[in-house]
């Protein structure tokens, strides 16, 4: 509301002092405050229970839980680590164990809690890595242009010539199997998307008037880059990163499922599904719950990504 009012006020500003007296910058907020409290609360309630906001809230809750699991798993699970109860093998859900137990007698719920860390680590680190590297490549290509642009974009083309999973597979093939290398492999396949989008963005920002102004004023190139180009390129990175996070978790879980992930703990939801596959005939819960968890996280992240896009790139709505 306040936004609407100030934009109406803009034409007035041209006749000088009058404008600042006529419309206070707080005008919009004052109006909102004058509405009765019960009206505002009803509006608030309507907003919270609107289906879109409800789904958004649910998604945030899912992500919050998974991040908490990853940070302090011992708070959520009775065991300090996933312990095996050899006498309680393959228990169905809703018995003594909430989600049942697997073939080693480990509680599925505890496995989900302790598996969150690897999923979150892969999601966060791989996404951060590909976002930083890809963005730098894209901005460098777009802002510097010329031969730099050529070389960088050819590299990106090569990375794009392979579906993401294969790119990750090559790196997994070449590196010893541990969590860090899995993260690197997942991160590499994310790079080209950032590079392409940010190159376009940097090209656009480079043509803006304030960049020309800074150049004319004799501001150093690296300063223009740091102060003007980079901050104005960041919105699409956040949106891409939100979507990339879910994709990174899926690819990480897929590689782990294929037996190409770390051979030692931490537990991985994908590896859990692989180990339970042989029991799917009778004991469906071993594979069902980890898969449900991955799906929930990916949907939550996509909902959040859509919301971010709507708020940060109004033009693409």
């Amino acid at each position: 509301m306040s936004l609407g009012q100030t934009s109406i006020a803009y034409p007035n500003r041209e006749d000088g002092a009058l404008a600042s007296e006529a419309v206070s910058p707080l005008g919009g907020d004052l109006n909102e405050r004058s509405s009765p409290w019960w009206f505002r609360r009803r509006a608030l309630r309507r907003q919270i229970f609107h289906p879109n906001n409800f789904i958004l809230g649910l998604s945030c809750a899912v992500l919050a839980i998974v991040f908490l699991w990853a940070a302090v798993p011992s708070l959520f699970s009775p065991d300090t680590a996933v312990g095996a109860y050899p006498t309680q093998v393959l228990q169905p859900p809703l018995g003594k164990f909430f989600l049942g137990t697997d073939q080693y007698g480990r509680s599925i719920y505890a496995e989900l809690v302790y598996g969150a860390r690897s999923a979150v680590l892969i999601g966060v680190l791989a996404t951060a890595g590909s976002a930083i590297v890809g963005s730098l490549m894209g901005i460098a290509a777009g802002y510097i242009g010329g031969a730099t642009d050529m070389v960088i974009m050819r590299v990106v083309d090569v990375l794009l010539a392979l579906p993401g999973l294969f790119l990750a597979l090559i790196f997994v093939a070449a590196l010893p199997p541990n969590l860090m290398n899995l993260i690197i492999a997942v991160g590499v396949q994310g790079i080209p998307a950032y590079a392409r989008v940010l190159r376009a963005q940097a090209l656009q920002v480079r043509g803006r008037l304030y960049v020309d102004a800074a150049t004319v004023l004799g501001v150093a190139r690296w300063k223009i880059l740091a102060r003007h180009i980079v901050p104005n390129c960041l919105a699409p990175v956040l949106v891409l990163a939100a979507i990339g996070f879910g994709f990174a978790i899926i690819i990480g879980a897929t590689l782990a499922f294929l037996g190409l992930g770390p051979t030692t703990p931490p537990l991985n939801w994908g590896a859990l599904i692989a180990s339970g596959q042989g029991y799917v005939n009778q004991d469906w819960w071993i594979t069902t719950f980890p898969g449900l968890m991955i799906t929930a996280v990916v949907i939550a992240v996509n909902v959040l990504g859509d919301w971010l896009r709507d708020h940060m790139e109004p033009t693409s709505r």
Binding site: A173, L258, Q277, T295
Partner: protein, 297 residues
Amino acid sequence: MLVGVTALIFFVLRALPGNPVVLLTQGDPGITQAQIRHIEDNYGLNKPLLVQYGTFIWHALQGNFGVSYLTKEPVMSSIGAQAGATVELTAAAVVLTGVIGIGGGLLAAMFRDTWVDSSLRVLSLFGSAMPLFWTGVLLILVFSFTWRLFPSSGSGTFSELVLPAFSLALAGSGLLVRLVRNSMLDVMGQEFVTALRAKGLPEYQVLVRHVLRNALVPAVTVLGVQIGALLAGAVVTETVFTRQGLGSMLVQAVQNKDYPTVQALVLIIATVYVIVNILVDISYAYLDPRVRTTLTK
């Protein structure tokens, strides 16, 4: 671009730690220096990296990808033996993806803002968010063990193809349903559709012959990109359903660090991917005559 891919594959695999000689000898501790040198000689491993790369390219151009470290057989002949199953699976999945995606999008657009539309939206959201390997496991659970309709593993017969192709198609068609729906609605808002209805054309002809055809251009792009994803998905699906094929071959090669096989498979897949993308570009001209005129100008 493909040359770039060869360089990428080759140097990443060679420059990173991991010694092929260890693999070739199965880590035999009693091996002598002379034997190591003999093996390196045989496989050309003692030459400079650039020379090795040159030989690799030269041989690859002649269709020779060397000998598998693992089976000691020429890589190309094992690939030839396995390729059929993968082609079969991918082709079935592409057709199914197209049918589900376009059919679903058509339905969603025809019944927009009804329960049909919203349930299709939820389904497509799940379809694209569910990890492919989990979809496969669920399908096995429901269709092989609970209802006993289709076998859970194996390759060759038609009934063994159903579940893998379906699990691949489910993952690919989620995006396509939403895309076809939105572009159908875009086209339906245009004036020529009103004109067609005004002249009394039956609604299904308006939708299928005119609206759908116009809405297909973006769908074909996505389907083309999806073929890459389906190829990648074949790796997963073949493993889940223990099928034969290039995908499960690649996973085994990666697990065993069988570099010649990995190189050959990745290169072939990249080539197919690039060719498919070119074909998609060409298909625009067929679907949208406006593209054709700009091309000839």
